[in-house]
Amino acid sequence: MQALRETLHETWRFYRKTLTLVLTGTREYYLWCLLLLSIMFLGLLFYLPQVYTGLITTNMKDQVVWGLYIANFTYLVGVAAAAVLLVVPAYIYQFGPIKEIVVLGELFAASSIIMALLFVMVDLGRVDRFWHMLPLIGSMNFPNSLLAWDVIVLNIYLVLNLLIPVYLLVKTYYGKEPNRKFIVPLILFSIPMAVAIHTVTAFLYNGLPARPFWNASILAPRFLASAFCSGPAIIIIVFQILREYTFIKLEDRALFKIAELMAYAMFLNLFLLMSEMFKEYYSNTVHIASLKYLYEGLHGKNALVPWIWVGTAMNLIAFVIFLFPAMRKRLSTLNIGCILIIAGVWIEKGPGLVIPGFVPDPLGEIYEYMPNFTELFISFGIWATGLLIFTLLMKVAIPIASGEFSHAKYIEERPASDWQ
């Protein structure tokens, strides 16, 4: 009885403390959260008319039926998959410094998956019928529809990326060693799952013979290569910010190790792009139309051309920066490289992948899609939601990881009256 009361008391204290941690902070913290909340609110203001009037409030049309939302979705799945890049060296090769940040990296992956799922939800015309897609309750077209596959693997990956760090944090809270027999298989399982979410997302496009631009077997490898560029780049930036504003300790060595791995991924990404370009331009069949629209413009329509060339230039410059150890091992140049690759890959595999798939359409019509304010603000709202989720997770996870918020502290602080 005493033990039960003790546990309940500590649980209650844990929730109260968590709430306090989330609700109190520096002035910068409040401003940051307020900023994110106002962007989310603005996004909601644009989302409601979209639900009640219809997707006509966006710039999508029958010619280009997926736009900015699905572009962001694709990109974020890649970012989430990149957590694997942190998990692999930390757990397989027992590389010291990275291990500290794997927990936080996985929470970042979980936040990205939530954003990716939100982007699918806002793109759904009938979000009220979402339950039709659930297995057992609804009528899921499994295994035929790749979208059904994607829903399954994304949710498994989300659960894994929440379960693993939460388990490790709870163990840290109690000052105990994690049960390796339980957690190591899960961690190992999350590695193929990271590959799976991105492969399935690539296959979602890849499996459509109606769209030659996507119907190239190089698509899935390209997705993985570019994910292993942009995801870790975001993580390098995020962890420098965390290092600056919190007491989390993180050596430069860990960042440089990630940067080295990224250099390989960037080379592979450019090589695969070159292979695709060679095949299309040298054979020069009707299938080149979308690629031409993207890189040169087609029949005088060229809305994406400046974007893709800026993106390509960013990717090339970033590769050069990451290629030379002297540059990737200096924080200033490393950060420039990271920002370039984050933006470059977003252009290349976000809008640069989704839109040309629809241009020209199967009957040869060209509709030049550009997102409107509704799509922009809803997208900003979702990014803000993801950042807020990550911020709040960090606000609790970091004190636990640093030992400031722990069971031992609870024993110390416990009032004497509770002890009897």
Partner: protein, 301 residues
């Protein structure tokens, strides 16, 4: 000081509670009986005969209330031993688009904002028949036909291997026993994956609530065909399921002034479409994709 804090806290709490109950009441009241019925509606193919009948009564009452017209909603099943096939004579088509507008009227498609059409007629330069990349969609001469061009109407090709059905994540679209590819508008979640998968642009999205003037409704409708649609779902040509299952021609066949459009049962050796396949030089669009369309283009010998 303490009192002041408490009043402020109370005030905030009251404000929150008022806002919460206010939004809850408005949410519940906006969620009327119709919304609840729609939300809980089963997949069409999983309904029993009684459930389908109840659904139809419900829909007819609702359409009467909403559009002020008495609709006759049918859920007639496929006629046995039937596989519908279409023929289109490219040497006769003059590109007048009468089929396009007959289709819009017959099938209750949205007239304006958004304008929704199930048939698209494209103009091609003579000499390059299937060079779709150089097709003209918005040709607008004073008179058709024009000397240097030919015209190709394209609509849902009712493939035997429909890629749209394969990719739908929720089974909201399927191929009927008579070969018609149909959509349950009440089951579609509006993801538009089927539109991405269709090589013929056979599918159209209702980007907003369809807009049809109340005196222009065609009140003879089929559940899987031309009944009034709702916003954010996909619809498509059904070869006029409401007509062909009661022995009539599709509206586009009747509207064509040159007799370019032929229609019939592919399983009936005496049918018009079988005559076309056996006696004319037919081809199907994008045969390399192995979708096996039941839509045959042909030329007069």
């Amino acid at each position: 000081m303490r009192d002041k804090l408490y009043t402020r806290r109370e005030w905030i709490r009251n404000l929150c509670l008022t806002a919460l109950s206010g939004s809850a009441i408005s949410l519940i009241s906006s969620c009327g009986k119709e919304e609840v019925e729609d939300f809980l509606q089963k997949h069409f193919l999983e309904m029993t005969r009684e459930e389908k009948e109840a659904l139809i009564t419900r829909l007819e009452a609702r359409y009467l209330k909403k559009y002020g017209r008495k609709f006759k909603v049918s859920a007639q099943e496929a006629i046995p031993d039937t596989l519908w096939g279409y023929g289109l004579d490219l040497s006769r088509c003059i590109g007048c688009r009468r089929c396009v507008y007959a289709c819009v009227e017959e099938n209750n498609s949205s007239r304006l904002k958004p304008q929704s059409q199930w048939i698209r007629v494209i103009r091609l330069k003579k000499g390059s028949l299937v060079d779709l990349e150089n097709s003209e969609h918005y040709y607008n001469p004073d008179l058709v036909p024009e000397k240097d061009f030919l015209y190709m109407p394209v609509q849902c090709q009712h493939c035997e291997n429909p890629p749209c059905v394969k990719v739908c994540p929720v089974h909201a679209t399927w191929k009927e026993p008579d070969g018609l590819v149909v959509v349950d508008y009440n089951w579609c979640i509006g993801c538009r994956y089927c539109i991405a998968a269709c090589p013929y642009r056979g599918r159209i999205f209702n980007w907003a609530e369809p807009n049809v003037p109340s005196d222009q409704w065609n009140t003879s409708v089929h559940y899987l065909g031309n009944r009034p649609r709702m916003r954010n779902v996909v619809d498509k040509c059904t070869y006029c399921i409401q007509r062909v299952r009661v022995g009539r021609y599709p509206a586009c066949v009747e509207a064509c002034p040159t007799g370019s459009r032929k229609f019939g049962n592919l399983l009936d050796p005496q049918s018009e479409i079988r005559y076309v396949i056996e006696n004319k030089r037919t081809f199907r669009l994008k045969e390399d994709l192995r979708t096996e369309p039941k839509f045959y283009y042909f030329f007069e010998a």
